[in-house]
Amino acid sequence: MNRRTKTLQRIFRARILYLLLLPALLYFFIFAYFPTIDGVRISFLDFRFIGENRFIGFENYRQAMHTAGFWQAFKNTVVIGLCNVILTAFVPMLLALLLNEVRRKAWKRISQTVLYMPHLFSWVIVGGIWIFMLSPNAGLVNVIRDFFGLESIYFMSKEAYARAIMIGVNLWKQAGFVTILYLAAIAGINPELYLAAMIDGAGGFKRALYITLPELMSTLRVVLLLNIMGALRMFNQIWVMRNEVIAPKIDVLMYYVYERGLVQFKIGYAAAISVLIFVLTLVITLISNRFIKYRV
């Protein structure tokens, strides 16, 4: 019996399973793969809502490469994205290690809940909270500054603070969720390892360094990969918190796509940028996956 026949037989034996998979596959094809493929097609067109769509080859891509706005958005995406990836991977790890040392269960639960709550809020609420907190007259940050005799700063009007604010607010929102992931991983560590380390005279710091951290590496790999995949797709936070003054420092590629495609109706051009984002995400994810798998 040749290989092809064997394969067909295997498929036939599992035919019910394949049939049951069909709706899910159809869903992904219609709502994920087809739009992606069609987006690539549209990126080569001078897209019109009605009438003929003229094929223009790589003109949309060429235009993007020669537009200062695209490169500014790309730079903003790289800077903010990279900081988000690193900070939202390692800061929650530190938080998890600290939380793990809290002995009283009630305090631990309260701390976890308080840390996790921002993750539940939508970006509209989070953005509104922080725009108010940073406001120059009634915002908490400036009230504290005023208490210490410092001058009020209109943070949301200063380009110098813009990226740091976006990164900091994103960390505030996401840290709790990632901390929970790390805490779950820590809970799975064999307690006998800690016992053995204590017998050998290892203090809390050494136990964290030589037992807890190595055990968290697999979770770190997952977190880094998820962060990298999401880094180029930032939009909600920027849309909520941006204003024209700080926009040059924080407008990211996805916002650029939104502005060009849905506000200025340059659908073909926006599709080209989307394809570039897709390719970049794919390449970075593949490279990172390889690196993280073997080095981290």
């Binding site: 049939l19 069909l22 709706p23 406001s135 003054v245 926009a247 040059p248 109706f265």
Partner: protein, 461 residues
């Protein structure tokens, strides 16, 4: 022979997959009268539950079955998506800026002949000929019909505070400054606290055309003698106005969140006795009075629209950009769609667009209109609180202060030139204006930055 245990699940799945399209086709087959799809961000029911009632009322009054697709949040994102996917839209509402952005797509049906043959729309006592000529395109055709009287934006102040502090209507920027300073420093609300601001704005410069108008400087773009676009607020003539705002900010008269404030923020500041003046739509003079009186009947609150400051350039306000109803070329029900658009400007249409739905927003008692509690809550706004028709007289009268404000806009208002670069203007001018007002850069530097950025964006040649 395959057993029942294996055949049954396979058969069930296949049957379900086959039957689903049949059910969908059957649902479609039940439609007899065509249903027009009316895409809008402002017209129609005030809440989701009221939308079908609005549709039924349109059908009752016109005989045309409509389905309004109303999105107030991110309307243009949804509109773009629906246009791009070829959704069968029959009537589409859009503002003049979006119309310009879509113009190159050649999406719109010319309506000139229908308008000229319409007894309602061609009546100059409903819509004057000059208004139609204003929106006529280069090819002589008219591609949209107005939604409502768009009024304009203007300075709106607390009349009760002005009377209490002994200030009359300010006439120039100096008198405006004196008034705003008084709102800040003279405790106009009488609570003994330093908790009021002179002026509350949003989006940095929204909408301060009245102040720039003292130097004859309109918002947006104008054309120079050679026909090239330029932005009046990005010229040296605007320096005195930027310096005026800068002074307001430095002296703590301008509410400091003017960059991040949204419309709701500065409206709230004005209505809650935190600011003595704001710049907003003339219709809001009436709405401010209505809303505050409804919530706090004992409040002395009284909003009034002010004549803009006079300067070397005269006086100028921005009259509202047109909201238009268009019919896409691919609509399969163009005649019915135009019938609905024409109805919108008839007396019955004016009643629907203002008071609302019979026996829901209002009732008729002895030949008189009586607003229900629902109607009162809807504040007589179902898409055109001030209809375009010159014949329209609101049976309840206009909200307090609106008539006077509208008269000021009619006298000094001029629509801005509509271009596809509106968003670029906002991005460039607002950001540089903010830096000037904050004192981070000089007005000269800010204006030079604006010019440079307009060149980079390809607006300036």
């Amino acid at each position: 022979m395959p057993s029942m245990r294996k055949t049954f699940p396979i058969g069930l799945v296949v049957l379900l997959l086959l039957l689903t399209p049949l059910f969908l086709c059957a649902e479609g087959a039940q439609e007899e009268k065509p249903t027009l799809i009316w895409m809008t961000g402002v017209q129609g029911g005030r809440e989701p539950a009221e939308i079908p009632l609005f549709d039924a009322e349109v059908e009752r009054l016109t005989g045309v079955k409509v389905k309004t697709v109303k999105t107030t949040d991110d309307y243009y994102t949804k509109l773009s998506a629906m246009l791009a996917t070829g959704e069968p839209l029959d009537i589409v509402y859009m503002n003049a800026g979006q119309f310009e952005n879509l113009w190159d797509q050649r999406l719109f049906e010319p309506l000139t002949e229908w308008i000229e043959n319409s007894p309602v729309l061609s009546d100059p006592e409903v819509i004057p000929q000059s208004e139609w000529d204003r929106i006529r395109r280069e090819d002589g055709e008219i591609y949209g019909v107005f939604n409502k009287f768009e009024q304009g934006t203007m300075p709106i102040a607390r009349k009760d505070w002005m009377d209490k502090l002994g200030y009359g209507n300010p006439q120039d920027l100096d008198e405006y400054y004196q008034l705003l300073r008084a709102f800040k420093t003279e405790d106009p609300d009488g609570n003994g606290l330093d908790d009021t601001w002179g002026l509350a704005l949003g989006y940095t410069t929204y909408d301060t055309t009245g102040m720039f108008g003292a130097y004859g400087l309109m918002k947006g773009f104008e054309k120079d003698a050679a026909g090239n676009l330029y932005a009046p607020w990005a010229t040296e003539e605007a320096i005195p106005v930027y310096e005026w705002f800068r002074r307001l900010y430095k002296e703590g008269i301008l509410e400091p969140n003017f960059i991040t404030n949204k419309s709701s923020n500065f409206r709230d500041l004005f209505m809650t006795d935190k600011a003595g003046m704001t710049c907003y739509w003339a219709a809001w003079v009436g709405l401010f009075n209505q809303q505050v009186k409804a919530e706090r009947p004992d409040s002395p609150f009284q909003a009034v629209g002010l004549v803009p400051p006079k300067g070397p350039g005269g006086r100028l306000l921005r009259a509202g950009g047109d909201g238009l109803m268009v019919i896409p070329k691919y609509s399969e029900h163009k005649e019915e769609a135009f019938k609905v658009i024409e109805f919108w400007h008839s007396y019955e249409g004016n009643v629907l667009s203002t008071l609302g739905i019979l026996n829901h927003d209002y009732t008729m008692e002895g030949g008189k209109y009586v607003l229900t509690e629902v109607g009162k809550a809807h504040a007589m706004d179902h898409g055109a609180p001030q209809p375009k028709s010159l014949k329209w007289v609101n049976p309840f009268g206009e909200a307090e202060g609106f008539d006077e404000a509208a008269a000021i806009v009619r006298e000094y208002g001029r629509p801005e030139l509509v271009t596809p670069y509106g968003k670029i203007w906002e991005k460039v001018v607002r950001s540089e204006a903010a830096k000037i007002i904050l004192g981070d850069i000089s007005p000269e530097e800010g204006i030079a930055n604006m010019v440079r950025r307009f060149k980079e964006e390809g607006v300036y040649k």
